[in-house]
């Protein structure tokens, strides 16, 4: 079976489900009795199983199947959640992740059967199933309800579905509540490869508006692709029939959907069905080898309304169902292309502006249109940017799990507190930021936090806290990793650096606190006395720094010995197009990102004071160092030194500096182009942009100037 065209979708969705499972199991560990969480876990495991099954990944399917069994028992209240069970479940997730990685790399799930895990799962299952005997008949009851549809009744095959007692009561109750009950038959196209997957989608589509009471063949059989080209359903819905049918028809590769309203007085019943039907049911009920729960579980999830037991719950999901966002999955490359086109458009617009200005005799009509064009391109750019923005949640949500694992491996007690997961960043940045953050968290856990005993001695709470906060600050997004641990022992850092030969003892002598901390980012540096599994291999902080710098971001460290340290990562919101202030220095044009500009000041040369032989100005009681850009950029200023200075005040975090320029040209939307790695030596230039007249202007990185 050729499933390659679905592989990408499969991998994407699998990752989502795994992520979801990780999060949910974690919260399950916190509150083992939460039914919502258990249901969510169950659903995710079930979808995973279905997807793995349709893609033909048997090992993955087996593992998820057994996991699902465990969840199903938990859901039914037969097993209580225990710590060791959570551990096993996490191991299962790791195993699943391994399968996914294998599939991603070579389209094959690998040969690891993970038998020990499956055995552990079964042990959990068996441990809990002793008291399950009393309930199993009730669960079995559903099985006979699903008679195989014999031929006849033409396309109205739903008429052949026989209802059991529990279904009938649900049916009647629904009717009494004024809901409609429809019989439907869905026909799948002959050419359809993944019938089960399509059927699953139909189920999902129908469940948006309705509840599926019964299906024929059973949900389990449909899932295992044990049906021909059609299957029938009885659904309860408040929506009109047409809408339900349309929803089902919307699924691709569905040939036809027929349906009709069922008369509550003529419910096809299992009781009055003929002997033949009853006999046919028998084997289903007696199906050996499978625990009853196994059968009940998948069926129940596909058609939650079916089981009489869940009747009380069934209205809840229907009423409280969140509004499903209508989304489209788009390849990031397509977005990149779109972004490039928008960039080209903005360059073209800028050319138009300067051409119109150059011609001199531009009419108001032209100017108006250009202004309109400008506002359109700006909103277009904003929209495209927004499309590319994703919450960092997708990356940070794996960290609680990681910290939990670290706690075990390191034998320290710690808690991760996260905030601002909804902060949005460009997709490419979000993808890249995961590793650096992970390094920092591990670093905090391993080097930062003290052991419980030491913490007690120092009068700190035994459980260490690690904070991960994200928030937007102007044109930047700030991500902070903090801990209330030991902080950075700069003395130890310096000694280590001398020992490693990174600095000489004399150099170390004169080092400021900040310089010492910066040593941590030196390649090959690690202060951990022993190399542990978690950190201390000397890779890490330097990698963190270079990675963040590659994203045009920066890291700042604040630390207080004995109280903890904070690693502050600052990332630009957008990588491609920014609002910038164009300035003239000498005869050259430079752009300064508007995001870093605080104010623009007109300063008389007399107000420039000297502090430690460096020029400063005093602005609203704050002393700001002056940076003469013409000196830094090696150009001759064309301004008379007695004239007033034009000072652009820029900020970086809480630091400020005044950049002296010759003249201001104006604000402009610029497209950032890389200078390429060939000219990467120049740190103060963060890129270049093409101006309206076709000339190239360089973008000054104010951050490196401060």
């Amino acid at each position: 079976m050729d499933v390659s065209q679905y592989l990408e979708i499969f991998l994407d969705e699998t990752n989502e489900h795994l992520q979801n499972l990780n999060t949910q199991i974690l919260s399950l560990e916190q509150e083992p009795g939460n039914m919502d969480t258990i249901n969510e876990i169950f659903r995710a495991a079930h979808s995973l199983k279905g997807m793995a099954g349709t893609m033909g990944y048997k090992r993955m399917q087996n593992l998820t199947h057994d996991m699902e069994n465990v969840f199903s028992e938990v859901r039914n209240g037969n097993i209580t959640v225990k710590a060791n069970m959570i551990d096993v479940l996490f191991q299962c997730l790791d195993a699943l992740e391994e399968y996914t990685t294998n599939i991603r790399e070579n389209a094959d799930e690998g040969t690891n059967d993970n038998e020990p895990l499956i055995k552990q799962l079964n042990d959990i299952l068996n441990g809990g199933s002793s008291d399950e005997a009393g309930e199993s008949p009730a669960q079995q009851e559903e099985a006979p309800a699903e008679a195989k549809a014999p031929a006849g009744n033409g396309s109205k095959k739903w008429l052949d579905i026989k209802l059991g007692d529990s279904e009938k009561s649900v049916f009647k109750e629904a009717v009494s509540q004024g809901k409609k009950v429809y019989g439907m038959t869905v026909k799948v196209q002959e050419s359809c490869i993944l019938k089960a997957a399509r059927a699953f989608l139909v189920f999902k589509a129908i469940e948006e508006t309705s509840e599926i009471l019964v299906s024929s063949p059973s949900a389990q059989d449909i899932e295992d692709e044990k049906f021909d080209l059609d299957f029938s359903l009885i659904v309860i819905s408040e929506a009109p029939l047409e809408q339900v049918i349309a929803a089902a028809k919307n699924v691709s590769e569905i040939e036809d959907v027929t349906g009709d309203v069922l008369d509550p007085d003529h419910i096809p019943s299992a009781d009055d069905s003929d002997a033949e039907g009853a006999q046919e049911d028998e084997p289903v009920k007696e199906k050996p080898g499978k625990a009853p729960a196994v059968q009940a579980a998948p069926a129940a999830s596909a058609a939650p309304a079916k089981s009489g037991k869940t009747k009380a719950d069934e209205k809840k999901p229907a009423a409280g169902k969140p509004v499903v966002n209508r989304t489209v999955r788009v390849d990031i490359e397509k977005l990149d292309t779109l972004m490039n086109l928008v960039s080209e458009l903005i360059i073209a617009k800028n050319s138009l502006v300067s051409a119109s200005a150059a011609s001199g005799n531009s009419s108001t009509a032209v100017n108006e249109q250009i202004e309109y064009l400008e506002s359109v391109t700006t909103s277009l750019h904003e929209s495209v940017m927004k499309v590319r923005m994703v919450p960092i949640e997708s990356t940070v949500s794996k960290f609680p799990r990681m910290v939990r694992d670290l706690q075990k491996t390191l034998g320290k007690k710690m808690e991760l507190h996260m905030s601002g997961e909804e902060t949005e960043l460009d997709r490419t940045v979000v993808d890249e930021i995961g590793d650096p953050l992970m390094h920092l968290l591990r670093n905090s856990a391993d080097h930062g936090l003290e052991s419980a005993e030491v913490r007690k001695e120092r009068g700190k709470p035994e459980v260490g806290s690690i904070f991960l906060d994200a928030y937007q600050d102007g044109n930047n997004v700030v991500i902070e990793v903090r801990d209330d641990g030991n902080g950075i022992d700069t003395q130890a850092v310096r000694e280590k650096a001398i020992e490693k030969g990174i600095v000489t003892p004399e150099q170390a002598e004169n080092m400021s606190e900040k310089d010492s901390i910066d040593l941590l980012f030196h390649a090959g540096f690690s202060t951990a006395k022993t190399v542990s599994d978690v950190s201390g291999r000397g890779v890490g902080l330097d990698v963190v720094k270079s990675k963040i710098e590659a994203l045009s971001g920066e890291v700042e460290v604040k630390s207080k010995l004995g109280e903890g340290s904070a690693w502050i990562i600052r990332l630009p919101l957008t990588l491609a197009i920014i609002q910038a202030l164009m300035v003239d220095i000498g005869n050259e044009k430079y752009a300064i990102s508007l995001g870093s500009i605080q104010t623009i000041e007109d300063i008389s040369p007399a107000d420039v004071k000297l502090v430690q032989a460096k020029e400063v100005i005093q602005l609203r009681d704050i002393v700001i160092p002056l940076i003469r850009l013409n000196e830094i950029l090696d150009v001759e200023s064309k301004k008379d030194p007695h004239e007033n200075l034009v000072v652009v005040v820029v900020k970086k975090g809480d630091k400020q500096a005044g950049l002296v320029v010759d003249e201001l040209i104006g604000q402009q939307e610029i497209v950032i182009k890389s200078l390429g790695k060939y000219i990467s030596k120049c740190k103060i230039i963060s890129g270049a942009t093409v101006l309206g007249d076709g000339e190239v202007a360089l973008i000054l990185d104010a951050n490196t100037l401060i």
Binding site: K673, G676, L698
Partner: protein, 152 residues
């Protein structure tokens, strides 16, 4: 075996002949992406002197270097015939080099090319990968990788 040998004998390479001062140099045509007229080069501060700056080539920002400065010749004098040759190299990406003049395209058979042994004592030699003999004249064939290589 026979075929291969024949091929080696008959193989030809095309070079673009450029002038730097009075000397003729050849650049292998397979590296050349484009030849553009001299245009305004935006200076980039704090870089090596041979890096003249960047230009805008159809919306892309391309670094431009001076072969003259890199090889220790007199600095470029912009004339009407000055050109920027845009090279596409595997490692360094797209780079422009300034030349005094672009003359012609020549096709050299392999036996017209004399490999020169690398002489570590004479630095200038390392920018060349051979000498081509064509119509009585000599063309120094540039080893682009060492020309473009960042000086340490």
């Amino acid at each position: 075996m026979m075929d291969e040998e024949l091929k080696v004998v008959g193989e030809t390479t095309q070079f673009i002949v450029i002038k730097l001062g009075d000397e003729q140099y050849g650049i292998d045509i397979k590296y050349i992406d484009n030849i553009v007229r001299m245009q305004h080069i935006t200076r980039v501060p704090k870089v090596d002197a041979y890096l003249k700056g960047v230009i805008n080539l159809r919306g892309e920002v391309i670094p431009v270097m001076s072969i003259r400065i890199k090889m220790g010749l007199e600095p470029d004098v912009e004339t009407k015939s000055s050109r920027i040759i845009i090279l596409k190299l595997e490692q360094q990406g797209t780079i422009g080099v300034i030349v005094d003049e672009v003359k012609e395209v020549v096709t050299l058979e392999n036996d017209q090319i004399e490999k020169i042994a690398y002489d570590s004592k004479e630095d200038k030699n390392s920018f060349l990968c051979g000498i081509g003999k064509c119509d009585g004249g000599l063309i120094s064939l540039l080893d682009l990788n060492s020309v473009v290589l960042e000086s340490v």
